[in-house]
Amino acid sequence: MRCHEAPERVQDSEKILESAAPFGGYCATRYRAALPGERPQVDRDELAALVRAHQAEIYRYLRYLGASSPAAAEDLAQETFMAAFTSTCPPLSRDERLLAAWLRGIARNLFLNDYRKRKRSPIKINISLVEEAEAVWNRDFLREGDGFETIEALQRCLERLPENRRGALDLFYRQGRSREEVAAHLKMTEDGVKSLLRGIRKVLADCIRRNLAMPGIGAP
């Protein structure tokens, strides 16, 4: 499909990509198609600059979408930059936020394609949630920045987290114990651990929001 052409049959993932494309354009106004025989507009140096600036976010974003493992996220991130490298219609603008959104669009599409290939995957994707995920990523992580403030806020919230909750997080995240092992350690059921962890994450999310809304306030 050429950049300037509308897809004849829009599939779910393409819908998402279209709706989430930077400034709502699917290569419509801010993208242009390469002329026949024209080289892709991202050269090797620009690719290096893109990787340097956006690789952390793209990797993190893929894990956030549900890439099954760090290795899977790395592979998809690599493919994202390769797709950008060979793209015939990169954004004309060099605005970093626009480029990041463009790369996330590619990553999201690749993630969904990869998911389709693995129909037997235990990971279940709700397509409408993926659409919502982009909104959450922008609103709750990037916050019109690069997400660094959110990470710092998380650190502050973790430091203020009660010891028992912190212990559960340590077992699961820091020590890499399975839910079953954590349940045994805390003398709980697996479902109980699941609910506990989800509850802690909810608390942390609220804390981060409060913290960023009013820095200095927002202990869990």
Partner: protein, 249 residues
């Protein structure tokens, strides 16, 4: 993913507490980019190789079209231009037959029949036209050679040429038109200094006397007998004048 916000905090916790930091993919990605660029380079190299092969094939075809030594060239109704060794520009007249000989810097042809206009660039090398009646050797000149039956015509437009015949070798200068030939016949009568020769294809006999002949021929003159086969060199000087007579080969 059931709850994007929950998934976001989960991702950040894995990074913060689980030490799952985003990896540095720079080297890996650039390596992959270089690898994917290679096919383009291979295509370019293949295109260049194909072009080189085509060029070689074309050069080979041209080489095959080029007349080579030993080959016999013949024209029909149309003239033909030739270049030998890069310095001999020849124009074969219609109905001409010649054979290519010689070697680099010393191009030569054997003119069997017909006519040939030659322009030899000075400094390129020597060039000679061999005929059954004589050889024209040149270095940097323009001339015409025509051979018909038993006659040879040499016309000099520029420079000079050496004309070698059975009776010797002499220089022809610019503007000179030399027309001569060889008659073959049999001596029918000898009376003192006069020899009667019956020329093949001509009625009657032609009389040859010593004043017509050069010194060398005079020495051989005494050895002739009636019935001897002889060759007579003639040149056109108003009419055909006999210049020499010798025993036929």
């Amino acid at each position: 993913m059931n709850d994007p916000l929950d998934s976001l905090i989960d991702t950040l916790l894995r990074e913060k507490l689980g030490n799952e930091h985003p990896p540095d993919l720079m080297e890996r990605i650039l390596h992959e980019a270089d690898r994917r660029l290679k096919p383009r380079r291979r295509i370019l190299a293949a295109s260049l190789a194909s072009a080189a092969v085509l060029l070689l094939a074309f050069a080979g075809w041209l080489w095959l079209q080029e007349p080579r030594r030993g080959s016999i060239l013949q024209t029909d109704e149309k003239p033909r231009r030739l270049n030998l060794g890069g310095y001999c520009n020849l124009r074969m007249e219609p109905h001409t037959v010649l054979k290519l000989e010689g070697e680099p810097k010393a191009e030569a042809i054997v003119l069997e029949r017909g006519g040939l206009a030659c322009q030899v660039d000075p400094g390129g090398g020597s060039f000679s036209v061999k005929t059954g009646l004589g050889t024209v050797s040149v270095k940097g000149t323009r001339f015409t050679v025509r051979m018909d039956g038993t006659g040879l015509l040499v016309r000099i437009q520029e420079g000079s040429v050496w004309l070698g015949t059975g009776s010797g070798r002499h220089l022809l200068e610019k503007g000179r038109v030399e027309e001569g030939g060889v008659w073959i016949g049999k001596i029918t009568e000898i009376q003192g200094d006069v020899i009667a020769v019956k020329i093949e294809g001509e009625p009657g006999a032609r009389l040859v006397t010593p004043p017509d002949l050069d010194e060398m021929t005079l020495q051989a003159f005494k050895t002739f007998e009636i019935g001897s086969a002889v060759e007579l060199d003639w040149v056109l000087d108003g009419s055909r004048q006999i210049r020499s007579i010798r025993t036929a080969k």
